[in-house]
């Protein structure tokens, strides 16, 4: 998990103070997660397991808030009381990888009985004094003084667009259970720490407005997530550009791409439109609106944190010099209805082994398996499909099936070196998913299987009659219990 910043404090001196006051009791719980991601390069197996230890926040009612990164790809999650080492397994009730938040529920509903829980505090602004709480071994609370450096839209570990984030200055000593920590203000929750750099002693925290949105969404048992607009845009500061696109006198941003499936696209916004205001909030030339609390803030926060999925959206745009109102409904289809999913946690990768040819469906998770420089190291055709999928794959049902590797066997003689090839057709039939590929393969008892790929060498041939015996042998030789997961 390359994006999970472990809070490794090391030799920092404790800048905190001891506290035993009442309001810190019954507020925190240790979260122990056992993590085991799937191996995207060997999709039939998982990688070696490891543990992550964080500190969760007990909410009134006995549920526990943690970051999603702490429990991503989990096999087991447990809670442990700070003072007593009493343990209880927990279930994940809601999780949002983009917003990096997870809501846990102890299996024994009475486990946290007696915990008073923490209330959500107000949103903070730059300059506010806060605390980051840590647990000592004996269950005592270590309160580290902290300061909010910034509040604005920034990157989250598993999100592409940006959410509200606090920059926090704090000196954190090295303690167990620090993978996630609560940011507190006057005994109330102000945020969840999700990253920390011990050299600069600066970290990032998920602010309370995000947490509120998440909890509200999760409260009805049906988690929907944060809406997205589904556009790319450019600031409109450049007076030459403003003239060219017939921009209004002031404000507005230029839509340079509109995903037809997204909130904006479904409402009827188009490439080249100038977005002047959203839900009555005027946008300036840099794409900021004036937030009552934070001042000028990127439009992303306006669209993603404030409304919920299903709520009405109101846009004022200028098109060809004419201003108009357009209404729509906030959703996140631009993120969900995609041929190549960008995020994939907790999900077993699909695969199909055909006589030694290993086929997979392209996902962001597969590409990320190539490491930090995946966009340079992964097969370039796959990177191209992934990065420019909006241009190339308007149909979200049309998955990208590709040959990921070849397990050498007698029937794949001469094919061993091939990998990263996008499959277009099998026996003349267009292949839109791994399941479809399996169906066509299964329907062929004899004759040739003619695989047609996007790139060189174009065609590969297998003899369907030889498949059953060969598959059995491959399963045995390579120790694969299952030759497919669809």
């Amino acid at each position: 998990m390359r994006w999970a910043w472990v809070l490794c404090g090391c030799l920092c001196m404790a800048g905190g103070v001891w506290a035993e006051d009442e309001d810190s009791r019954g507020s925190l719980v240790r979260v122990r997660a056992s993590i085991q991601p799937y191996d995207q390069f060997r999709p039939w197996q998982k990688k070696s397991p490891y543990g992550l230890n964080g500190t969760g926040v007990v909410l009134p009612g006995g549920k526990v808030l943690a970051t999603a990164a702490l429990v991503a790809n989990r096999t087991e999650v447990g809670l442990e009381k700070p003072g007593s080492a009493e343990k209880c397994a927990a279930e994940v009730e809601a999780i949002d990888y983009e917003a990096n938040l997870a809501l846990l529920q102890p299996v024994d509903r009475n486990f946290l009985k007696g915990f008073s829980g923490v209330l959500l505090g107000p949103a903070l602004r730059a300059g506010d004094k806060t605390e980051v709480w840590q647990l000592e071994k004996n269950g005592e609370m270590l309160r580290n003084q902290a300061e909010i450096l910034s509040a604005g839209v920034g990157r989250y570990p598993s999100d592409e667009a940006g959410f509200l984030v606090y920059g926090v200055r704090v000196s954190l000593p090295k303690r167990d259970d620090s993978y996630t920590l609560p940011l507190m203000k006057d005994g109330q929750l102000a945020g969840m720490m999700m990253g920390y750099d011990r050299d600069s002693q600066e970290g990032t925290a998920i602010p309370v407005p995000m947490i509120e949105h998440f909890l509200k969404d999760a409260s009805d048992g049906k988690y929907e997530g944060f809406p997205t607009l589904g556009v790319s845009w450019s600031p409109l500061r450049d007076p030459n550009l403003r003239e060219e696109v017939l921009a209004p006198k002031s404000g507005g941003l230029l839509l340079t791409r509109v995903n037809p499936r997204g909130t904006a696209g479904r409402a009827g916004l188009r490439e080249g439109d100038i977005l002047i205001s959203v839900d009555g909030f005027k946008l300036d030339e840099d794409g900021n609106y004036r937030d009552p609390l934070y001042g000028p803030t990127a439009v992303g926060n306006l669209i993603r944190t404030r409304p919920t999925v299903g709520s009405p959206a109101k846009f004022r745009i200028s098109r060809g010099g004419k201003e108009m109102e357009i209404t729509g409904t906030y959703d996140r289809k631009a993120r969900e209805e995609v041929a190549i999913p960008t995020l994939q946690f907790d999900q077993a990768p699909k695969y199909l082994v055909v006589g030694g040819l290993v086929f997979q469906e392209l996902t962001g998770a597969y590409l990320q398996e190539w490491g930090d420089k995946w966009s340079e190291r992964a097969p370039q055709r796959l990177v191209e499909y992934f990065t420019f999928q909006q241009d190339k794959r308007p149909d979200p049902e049309k998955k990208v099936v590709f040959l990921s590797q070849v397990l050498p066997s007698p029937i794949t003689l001469g094919y061993q070196q091939l990998s990263g090839l996008v499959l277009l057709q099998l026996n003349g039939q267009e292949i839109k998913s791994l399941a479809e590929l399996a169906k066509v393969v299964d329907s062929c008892a004899s004759g040739n299987l003619v695989f047609e790929f996007r790139d060189e060498p174009g065609k590969l041939i297998l003899n369907a009659g030889e498949l059953p015996a060969s598959s059995e042998k491959i399963g045995k030789d390579y120790g694969l219990r299952e030759l497919r997961r669809l």
């Binding site: 790319s232 450019s234 500061r237 450049d238 030459n240 550009l241 003239e243 060219e244 230029l254 340079t256 791409r257 490439e271 966009s375 340079e376 370039q380 055709r381 990177v383 191209e384 990065t387 420019f388 029937i411 794949t412 003689l413 001469g414 094919y415 040739n448 003619v450 790139d455 060189e456 060498p457 174009g458 065609k459 590969l460 041939i461 297998l462 003899n463 030889e466």
Partner: protein, 506 residues
Amino acid sequence: MKRPNLKSLLIFLLPLLGGCGKGDWQLGEAKKNVVMVEVTSQTWDYRLPWNPGTVSSARGAGFVIDRKRILTNAHVVSGARYLTVQREADPRKYQGKVLFVAHDCDLALLEVDDSEFFSGTSDLPIGGIPELESVVSVYGFPIGGDRLTVTRGVVSRIDYNSYTHSGRESHLAIQIDAAINPGNSGGPVMQNDKVVGVAFQGFRGDVAQNVGYMIPTPVIRRFLKDVEDGKYDHYVDIAIRWMALENPAMRSYYHRPNDGLGVVVTDIFAEGSSDGVLEKGDVLLSIDGYAIESDGSVRLDGQPVQLEEIVERKFAGDTVELEVWRNQKLEKKQITLRPAEMFSMYENLYEEPPRYVLYGGLVFQPLTANLMAGLVSGADLRLRQTYTLFGQDQLYKETPEPVILTTVLPDRSNVYLAGLTGQVVREINGKRIRTLADVLPALELGGERSVIRFEGDQRPAVLKKKEVDQVMPRIMTQYGITQPNRTELGNRRLAKGSYQQEGESR
């Protein structure tokens, strides 16, 4: 199938120090013919394409081949502004000049005006391909001293290899285990009184030991023959991709018996030699009468070599005869060979000055291997993909020479455009940009503003023409730019592209 060679290189060119050789002949003979080549060269700076470039000096080797010309590596003399040659045990340095340079096979011929220089040299005979495991001697002036140095080794391998100087070419190369080090470049490799190769590249010591490469005599002979008409032409290319026909199911699909012969054509590059003659799915059975094994090799002088070797030894306009199995019938095809100009983007450029257009602080440059190498950090993903897929996807048919906005030289007139560097230009003032030559005329089109649009979802760059005219002198003065553009292509040729049928797309 010469693939565009995009490998980043573990192989280094033997930089400059020198080389010469001895076999079972007299060292005195070698001494007579081996020369030290000292070169002061200039390397263009693709980030500042108007500048004449950085000057550096280095040393390599060469040898007199016919009492009047010196053979050396292209990479020893590329970009040479001043070069001197000096014979072993003669303190005099003579000024030499480059007669021909062939960057694609890393060879060059030098001449010296003062014929005195050649007195006492002999005709060095050029031999054949040495046997595996036979002993060869390498002569040169490698690192560690200034005098002629001889090392010995055996022939370890004879195979195709990439020629790193060109960046994209692969030719026959011979691997030897004699110590070859920086400064051996251009030196002769000798066996039985004959030249059997020119030392040219090796691996860095931390990558592999005792692996050096020499350019074998078929490549040398081809070069010498090519320049007989007074100019050097590029290598020709069959411009196809093929796949070994080893798999039994594949063989039966193509109706070929299990005789271990034939390869299947998997791609034909438009505008290449085979365009319109071969088809995907053709099984190639023989080339110029040489049977093609199922791994793509042919037996040449008893040695298995890739089938391209047949093409390698030919020249533009020559033909090859192919026996092709198509639709279960044997057909004879003739291919007239020509260079693969569409891949010239992948070729490192040396003599040709960088081309560019400056417009109000915006610098437009064509996409080239040099440009990619000059990009400081990772290029924009779309730019990188355009480069990587240019040949494979035959993007040259639409855009023979993608144009990039490489730099925005900060000026008060373009403060909002800085974020657009690295973008691929799609059109200017409504005109599709297919080569750098399109840029200047397109900038004249339209009304009072110039609108430059890019591939992908970037905003356009908009400039007022009047303002650009006003600020150009200021920008040129401030940034020390001597000429506003350089667009002549020189001798190089681009792909023609298949877009010329009227009706511009988009």
